[in-house]
């Protein structure tokens, strides 16, 4: 008798122990994130680190209301083909009610997937592209209901730059644009030309400059001939040598011009590769300075980096923060969808569309609404390179990007 009671007791205990983990036997939550961690825009592993560390942290705290997030992380090498291929693979392999969100990082990858993502899979897709074509006035949520950009469109960024130039030059500036012969590079040109006409600021030179170039002299000489005194450099990342070559050549030949850049060009990495040549550059960023510890989100990223022991390996903190940002928005939106009882692709989409959020303080406390499917916060910064300083035994050019404008909500405040 006693033996039988004992056996039943153990069985009951076993069942009781199994049930809480039964919650994890509920259907898994899967997301796919893709970043350009190698390739023509440089070697940028920090994206992946930020993402992984973020996911670790979130899953460690219970994930989405107790359910862990299963994530797939891929390096798409800044190639649209690779990005598309990766997505197709996962979309075919995973179940619709488990694979809930995806992210990408190249304008060129959005176009081929329009049908697949928006009509067929109907899966919310976040992207690091700020493409004007997809997210700007010609595109937007009505055309691409499942595409979301994690920043302001390049068109908006250029408009902000042009407005700044007008102000800085008293209306007399002559603008030259150097862009990469890629989707990314060409993306904002229409909008830029239109806006420049609108505000009466002439664009006197447009130069293509390829990633494979080893010399920028022809482009710079042409700009010099056109007598442009404000040169916008768009469609390039700060890491690779072609940027350093351009910046230095521009500095040598265009002694009095102001160089400007859009989101992915401006930033601390530029100082690292270009040194003095970056001094005085004006850039527009969709994120705060990665060393601005007064910003709660920035501080959180630094804490993460310290906690996961990444600090020494990180060359460009912005990239690490970016990876982290993706994790946070995945988590935020999945949680909201789950709370509303709709942990499905549609539920996630609804959560995104109705999102009004301050992104953990990312924009100095200002919130934004995701109605336009873009996070339209931009800020203008200026670079100042101080002399070189000893840092870990090496001589490193040290500089800062100082904000010279408040956070501008492009949806609301840009005319």
């Amino acid at each position: 008798m006693k033996k039988r009671l004992l056996i039943i007791g153990i069985m009951l205990l076993g069942i009781v122990l199994i049930f809480p983990s039964a919650a994890s036997f509920a259907k898994p939550i899967k997301v796919l994130a893709q970043f350009p961690m190698s390739g023509p825009v440089g070697t940028l592993p920090e994206f992946g680190w930020g993402f992984i560390d973020g996911m670790d942290y979130i899953n460690g705290r219970g994930g989405v209301n107790g359910k862990p997030i299963t994530y797939f992380l891929e390096d798409m090498r800044y190639s649209p083909t690779v990005e598309v291929a990766n997505f197709m693979r996962y979309a075919a392999a995973e179940k619709r009610d488990e694979f809930l969100m995806a992210s990408g990082y190249i304008t060129g990858g959005l176009k081929p997937l329009i049908e697949k993502v928006n009509k067929e899979e109907r899966i919310p897709w976040l992207d690091g592209s700020y493409s004007t074509e997809i997210f700007g006035p010609e595109g937007g949520p009505s055309k691409y209901p499942y595409y979301y950009s994690l920043g302001a469109t390049y068109g908006d960024q250029m408009k902000v730059l042009l407005n700044w130039i007008k102000e800085d030059s008293g209306g007399k500036g002559r603008v030259g644009i150097v862009y990469s012969p890629t989707e990314w590079g060409r993306d904002p040109l229409e909008v830029t030309r239109a806006h420049s006409k609108k505000i009466g600021l002439p664009i006197v030179a447009e130069e293509e400059y390829a990633y494979t170039a080893t010399d920028a002299t022809p482009q710079v000489t042409n700009i010099r001939k056109a007598k442009a005194d404000y040169v916008i450099y768009h469609g390039y990342s700060a890491a690779p040598t072609h940027t350093a070559i351009f910046m230095k050549t521009a500095r040598q030949y265009l002694k009095k011009a102001t160089l400007l850049g859009t989101h992915y060009t401006s930033g601390p990495y530029l100082i690292l590769t270009c040194g003095k040549a970056a001094d005085g550059m004006v850039g527009v960023l969709c994120r705060p300075q990665s060393d601005d510890l007064t910003n709660p989100m920035v501080k959180m990223s630094h804490d993460f980096a310290a906690k996961y022991k990444r600090t020494d390996g990180i060359k460009d903190f912005f990239l690490y923060m970016e990876g982290l940002t993706y994790t946070l928005i995945f988590h935020e939106v999945l949680s909201r969808a789950d709370k509303a009882g709709e942990l499905t692709r549609e539920g996630v989409k609804k959560a995104l569309d109705n999102l009004v959020w301050d992104y953990h303080g990312l924009f100095a406390g200002r919130g934004f609404s995701y109605k336009s499917h873009t996070i339209p916060m931009v800020r203008v910064y200026r670079c100042k390179v101080e002399k070189e300083v000893e840092k870990a035994g090496k001589k490193v050019a040290v500089g800062t990007w100082t904000a010279i404008s408040p956070w501008i909500n492009a949806d609301i405040e840009l005319k």
Partner: protein, 299 residues
Amino acid sequence: MEWEEMIDLIQTLGAGLLIGCVYGLLGLGIVIIFRASEAFNFAIGEFLVVGSFLFYIFFFDLHLPFLLALPLGVLAAGAMGALIERLAIKPLLGRSALSMTIITLGLASVIRSSVQLIFGAHSYSFSLELPDISLEFGTLLFPSERIWAGLLSVIAFGFILFFLFRTRWGVAIRATSESQSKAMAFGIDARFILLMVWALSSMSIAVAGVMISNFGALSYLTGIAGFRAIPVVLIGGMDSIGGALIGGLIVGLCEALIGSYVEPLGLVGFKDVAPYLLLLIVLFIRPYGLFGTVRIERV
């Protein structure tokens, strides 16, 4: 031609000549190895990068003054060239020159990956900050960096010429380049000479590399510029030292002219292709290059 157009032309020609000197130095690196062993060093880009990184260590990491860092870096590059010769080329002595050439292809991959392993894949800021000697007359502008590049390249070229034609090692190198067997018969250790040749070549490529890195940043990708040497030596003549300089200047001018006058017409990137087209034309007329072997044959 209008005055402004004239100025443009001078600007373009000047820029072309200055960069041409650097290309000539690269060509020299190829030519002296080719003369000694009939092998084409396809790893020239990688030698460029390694030489630049060695200089980087002396100048940027150890903060030595430029006048000290440059010779040290160049000597280190020479030592590296000698080491590579010992490890990869010497075992092939007596085999065909084709084998040696193919080995350099493999060498290129190995060196490129090693550089990435040791120095990482990112770009290193590279600013020599030499005294400003830019020339500016009105709209004409020759930036200091470019003038330094041309100047130092010509000086390096001169050093090597002096070494080859006015020193006993130079005589020995030229003798061995002509005939290894005759050299050995008269007591010239052809193997050591080959070592010296690779070291000399690495040194010239290193100087060119430092100049090229100074134009932008240094990373394992900077070596792509090394391939400019191919049209340089094929146009100038694979075994002609003077031809290397002339070939370099021609390629430099070609690039500059195409970049200024043809590219704006929409053919972006054409200036990288143009030297090869020019090369085809030259080879049509002079198959051995402009100054290739003038054979002395006794009839």
